[in-house]
């Protein structure tokens, strides 16, 4: 039956299941909310199974098990097996911390389709420093096991000013590890990354240089290693087509069951994001205030409203508009048509000044102690 979805609302295709906010790593650019310590409750195994089954019925097919660190959930293999049975294509988005060869085999047998391992840098000292945990050597080992056991190997490196100079070494490391996919994700400045932005945002020169190196490498390796390059949107003059449009494609379920149109949407006021313990996925997707808030183009202000590119980028990112303009319905200030583009330029200038100082302020690491400062 294809007809159970509400007209004019496309069904979800991608489901991000944030199983837990617990994480042994402390990356200072984590996309989890700053006040994650406020939400220690986690959904039960049965809750997750209901979510998976309801979202699948609507048409969700790509599934990411994420967190925090999803491996902290003891029921992960059970959830993976359930997802496979439903026909999801499932991905474990992991730090690799605590992942053993036995676990990799167990997950493979349960039907996991691929594993995305993140590495923080190409050298042990920097990677361990950024992770706030000694983890680099084990990550390399995990990447090798992933490869050995026949998974497509997806390596993810988040880029920022502390590691962007390692671009040639990062590319070489990915090739040595036999990565099938390399995600070079320039940091997106929300949550913890937003707090640490002055220390993380690369200068324009650094970004241009790194992109040039990655582009040349991409041409050299061709299809052998597919490179996904997530651009740092501050250096673009048009905003990203965030989430492929609000409530069109992506559904995130936070550890406590809150349903989010994007994983940062918790930062936005007034959405009243619904919880899967109270509503079905179908009701959440089709009827909730949160998922309808920025659907379509009716909510837009100028210059978006009359812009001929509004169906291309949907006005950009709502969280970014809120962070810069304190108005989530305003134009993403990354856009050169935004009356507030100067605010982005000021941030770029501020980060460039910070980059010149040897005594930069220290990074704020993502951990429960620091999170409690934001309660």
């Amino acid at each position: 039956m294809a007809g159970s979805n509400t007209p004019n609302i496309t069904p979800p295709r991608w489901l991000l299941a944030e199983l837990s906010y617990k994480c042994p790593l402390q990356c200072p650019y984590c996309s989890n909310p700053l006040d994650y310590a406020r939400y220690p409750q986690e959904l039960s195994t049965e809750d997750w199974k209901r979510v998976l089954s309801q979202a699948r019925k609507m048409g969700a097919v790509q599934l990411g098990f994420s967190g925090g660190e999803p491996l902290t959930r003891q029921d992960l293999p059970e959830l993976v097996a359930y997802a496979r049975e439903l026909g999801y294509y499932s991905n474990l988005i992991t730090s690799g911390y605590g992942l053993s060869e036995e676990k990799i085999l167990e997950l493979k047998n349960a039907g996991l389709d691929h594993i995305q391992v993140s590495i923080q840098a190409s050298s042990a000292d920097l990677s361990d420093h950024l992770a706030g945990t000694e983890s680099y050597a084990h990550k390399l080992q995990v990447a090798q096991w992933v490869k050995q056991h026949g998974y497509p190997m997806v390596l993810c490196v988040v880029l920022h000013r502390q590691n962007i100079h390692q671009m040639p070494e990062i590319l070489a490391m990915a090739e040595t590890l036999g990565a099938d996919y390399l995600e070079l994700a320039n940091t997106q400045y929300y949550g913890w990354a937003h707090v640490n932005r002055d220390q993380l945002l690369p200068t324009r020169e650094q970004f241009v240089e790194a992109e040039k190196i990655a582009q040349a490498y991409k041409e050299k390796v061709g299809n052998k290693m597919k490179i996904y390059y997530v651009v740092p949107d501050y250096y673009e003059d048009r905003p990203k087509a965030c989430m492929n449009g609000w409530g069109t494609t992506f559904l995130t379920i936070a550890p406590d069951g809150t349903a989010l149109p994007c994983h940062s949407a918790r930062e936005l006021p007034g959405l009243d994001c619904p919880n899967v313990k109270d509503y079905s996925i179908e009701a959440i997707w089709n009827e909730s205030k949160a998922f309808n808030f920025f659907r379509g183009t009716e909510w837009m202000q100028e210059p978006c409203r009359s812009c001929d590119e509004k169906h291309k980028d949907f006005g950009g990112c709502r969280c970014q508009a809120f962070l810069f303009n304190a108005d989530a319905a305003s134009t993403d200030p990354v856009c050169s048509k935004s009356p507030h583009r100067d605010r982005v330029d000021a941030v770029i200038a501020s980060a460039a000044v910070s980059a010149e100082h040897v005594d930069e302020k220290p990074l704020v690491f993502r951990n429960s102690r620091n999170s409690k400062n934001y309660l």
């Binding site: 039956m1 294809a2 979805n5 069904p11 295709r13 019925k57 609507m58 048409g59 097919v61 790509q62 026909g87 294509y89 991905n91 389709d113 691929h114 995305q116 026949g150 998974y151 497509p152 997806v154 099938d180 996919y181 995600e183 299809n223 597919k226 996904y228």
Partner: protein, 89 residues
């Protein structure tokens, strides 16, 4: 050039699947999905590790009671190989 004799199969990590909600076949892979039209799906269903180009052509020409499909099928399989969806077994 297509090798007409070698057996074709799906690449590791790629999955061909019928999507009930979309009423179509799709290819699933890390971070992505390709929606297929009916003829592409018919060809790819046969890339199951037991057929080569010649066998696929024979089977589809019989199934649809037609002839002269080889050029189109070969053209499509070349694209599928290039995209890494399928590979020689």
């Amino acid at each position: 050039m297509m090798n007409a004799e070698q057996i074709l199969k799906f690449s590791p990590g790629y999955r061909l699947q019928w999507e009930e909600a979309q009423q179509k076949f799709v290819i699933l892979y890390p971070e992505g999905m390709v929606e297929l039209n009916q003829s592409s799906a018919e060809i790819l269903k046969l890339c199951d590790g037991s057929n080569n180009l010649s066998a696929i052509v024979t089977e589809l020409e019989a199934k649809f009671a037609t002839s002269g499909l080889e050029a189109d099928i070969s053209q499509f399989l070349k694209v599928a190989l290039q995209n890494g969806w399928i590979q020689y077994a």
